[in-house]
Symmetry: C2
Subunit: 400 residues, 2 copies
């Protein structure tokens, strides 16, 4: 298949380009390197070195025997994306070109506007470009499990049967997102659902859990093929951040009591799922939603797991709870479905420990890169729009 990746230089995009190419698909993609700029803006850097796109392309060609079909440009540039799609003629488009951070979107008015502007208008441009240029292509759009929030009922995959005052209908499941970033994804889901209905586009909207991992097997040992790995408060997600902290001996930063439960999945599972989705497109006019995660865990469970694996690796980490800079429920019911991908053949890896072991081994050689940025490991972006470094509210004693 011909698969277009919007945001091919990012954490998922760069891995997916390799995974799909290794499976024999023809890949193309765009990027404007905003992720690189945003991480620098918040004072951080990827724990694993990120090479220039020219170096990445050279390694890609050496490893896969194909040149990387890449153009620098933005979904906000409508003519650019129309032209690129018209030239490439994709069967599927994986849309990974959104600003992906909740805290970044909550910094201030400018960052909230940047987030919704980039995500909503970029995605709207992509829908229009598909309608104009490749209406038969399949849009695989990355949403987030965070769109649903934490309702007190089971979370189905996008739609549910409702009975209300004696009448029934099948309706979109209500969204209760927790940041301007998460809401931007809801807005995009709504626009996408609508475009499928009126224009007969086909789309799969991926409500993805939190991804962790430093590599997929397809990358081999060339460091230029490795994907980025962020550990700051904005772009570093829970397990990735915990592993980086463990490597330098910084307390693992659990926000609040850590009883928040979320869906997680390793990078390799994300690649497996996105590929299964591309290879099994819906009908024209169909808008379907997949919940994509390996399993649900509480944040504290995961911190404890990283701690144990780190101890086996000879490290001596502690887990500290910090007052939560976010506004989210401390404890809640959480039972999301994830049957659609299983039905397509998704085999969850079910071994977080093994993945964390690989991550720690990958990160140890880059300890100095993390140490250089350790000042930004404790969060200070608060949901009320202020900045205040979180305090430790529950400190685990350090073993002697």
């Amino acid at each position: 298949m011909k698969i277009f990746i919007a945001g091919i230089d990012g954490y998922l995009g760069w891995a997916l380009a390799q995974y799909l190419t290794a499976r024999g698909h023809e890949v193309a993609g765009n990027d404007v390197f905003l992720r690189r700029a945003w991480v620098a803006e918040v004072g951080s850097d990827s724990a694993l070195p990120v090479y220039s796109i020219e170096e990445r392309a050279a390694a890609f060609e050496a490893h896969f025997g194909k040149s990387l079909n890449f153009r620098q440009g933005d979904l906000l540039d409508y003519d650019f994306i129309c032209n690129y799609l018209a030239d490439f003629k994709p069967d599927a488009i994986v849309h990974l070109a959104e600003m992906p951070s909740a805290p970044y979107s909550m910094i201030d008015q400018k960052h909230a506007v940047l987030t919704q502007q980039n995500n909503v208008i970029g995605s709207l441009n992509l829908l229009w470009a598909m309608k104009e240029v490749c209406p038969d292509a399949h849009l695989v759009k990355l949403g987030t499990m965070g769109e649903y929030g934490t309702p007190n009922i089971d979370i189905p995959e996008g739609f549910f049967e409702v009975e209300f005052r004696g009448r029934k209908d099948r309706l979109p499941f209500p969204r209760q997102a927790g940041s301007f970033y998460h809401w931007s994804k809801v807005h995009d889901s709504n626009n996408t659902m609508f475009a499928c209905r009126i224009w007969g586009l086909r789309a799969t909207d991926i409500m993805q859990g939190v991804v962790f991992g430093t590599r997929i097997d397809e990358m081999g040992d060339d460091p230029r093929l490795r994907t980025r790995l962020d550990f700051d408060q904005c772009f570093g997600t829970a397990i990735n951040r915990f592993c980086c902290q463990a490597v330098i001996g910084h307390p693992l930063t659990v926000f609040g009591g850590g009883k928040q439960r979320r869906g997680f999945l390793p990078l390799r599972d994300s690649m497996q799922c996105l590929t299964l989705t591309c290879e099994n497109p819906p009908q024209r006019g169909e808008y379907r939603v997949f919940n994509q995660f390996e399993e649900t865990y509480t944040i504290h469970e995961l911190a404890d797991l990283v701690k144990e694996v780190a101890e086996e690796a000879g490290l001596n980490p502690v887990v500290h709870c910090y007052d939560n800079p976010r506004q989210e429920l401390a404890e809640h019911y959480y039972n999301p479905d994830r049957q659609h991908l299983i039905d397509l053949g998704y085999q969850p890896s079910h071994d977080v420990r093994a993945e964390v072991r690989i991550m720690l081994a990958d990160l140890m050689p880059h300890k100095d890169r993390i140490l250089a940025k350790q000042a930004i490991l404790v969060p200070d972006i608060r949901w009320d729009g202020s900045r205040r470094r979180s305090e430790v509210i529950d400190a685990e004693p350090i073993k002697s």
Copy 2:
């Protein structure tokens, strides 16, 4: 109370400024005259003359004995709106500054982007400005009944009790909007709900039906105080358009079979409801939703009603059905609640005929203005992104 009107030069804004002032409230407001520009862009003009803001302000001062507190500026200009709100210190803000047309938002990519950009970013700026400058003020935000679409179950006011797989929760009612404009309003509703939750803002989100009418009593007889009245396919809503058509002897343009049912209300009811809402604010942190309409009617019922009243006035109109340029259900269940405003004292006027009689009398002297733009009375903006003038699919014979 001190009430700020965003979009004070528009159809509702200009009427509301007068209605609130007549009730003794202190009013201020902004506008950048985009509605005037958009109506001109689609080749039309208001049936009632629209005077310059200077002429309007002079008439306002002559009639109400107060100068009009007005500044030209845009919600997209964050500093402008912060400064204005900081200076005025409103108790309530009525947000009427959105692009209000479904067909306009469906013209092409540029118009869809303009719509979501203007509405989503403008509203997001307003939320941030309130948080920074007047967090205790009450936001009265104009949504639309169109956010809900036409589900096969009753439509509550914003939220409903759900039972799903044996568990219960109170959740936002799912939205199924029918244009990029209507979706922009859903996006704004979601951002507003979130801002109330995290910042403790207070807001009432008005899901308003289709407004019709040429005047409110508070305007008196000065033509400079009259509000605009559009009749084109983008900004002319059903009854307003039918009255203008009846006045010049053009067939009343019903889209499809006319069995679509919607909520409608006269301009004077809209003013009554918005004022009741301002005068009865919610608690800090509360986000409440009011469905605001007088009654539901089918489009064909209303066309027939306008026809009958027009015949009484000596006109000789016919009703024609045109192939529907929109994508919407031809027939559907429709039973929305509207109890919240009734509980606050809303007294629905319940006399559409009387209102139409006034409208026809107001419009007759401006027959030539409508005749000058009659070329744009039949719609050609289609939901598939093309332009094609609708054909008559059911023509009523013209009486001799």
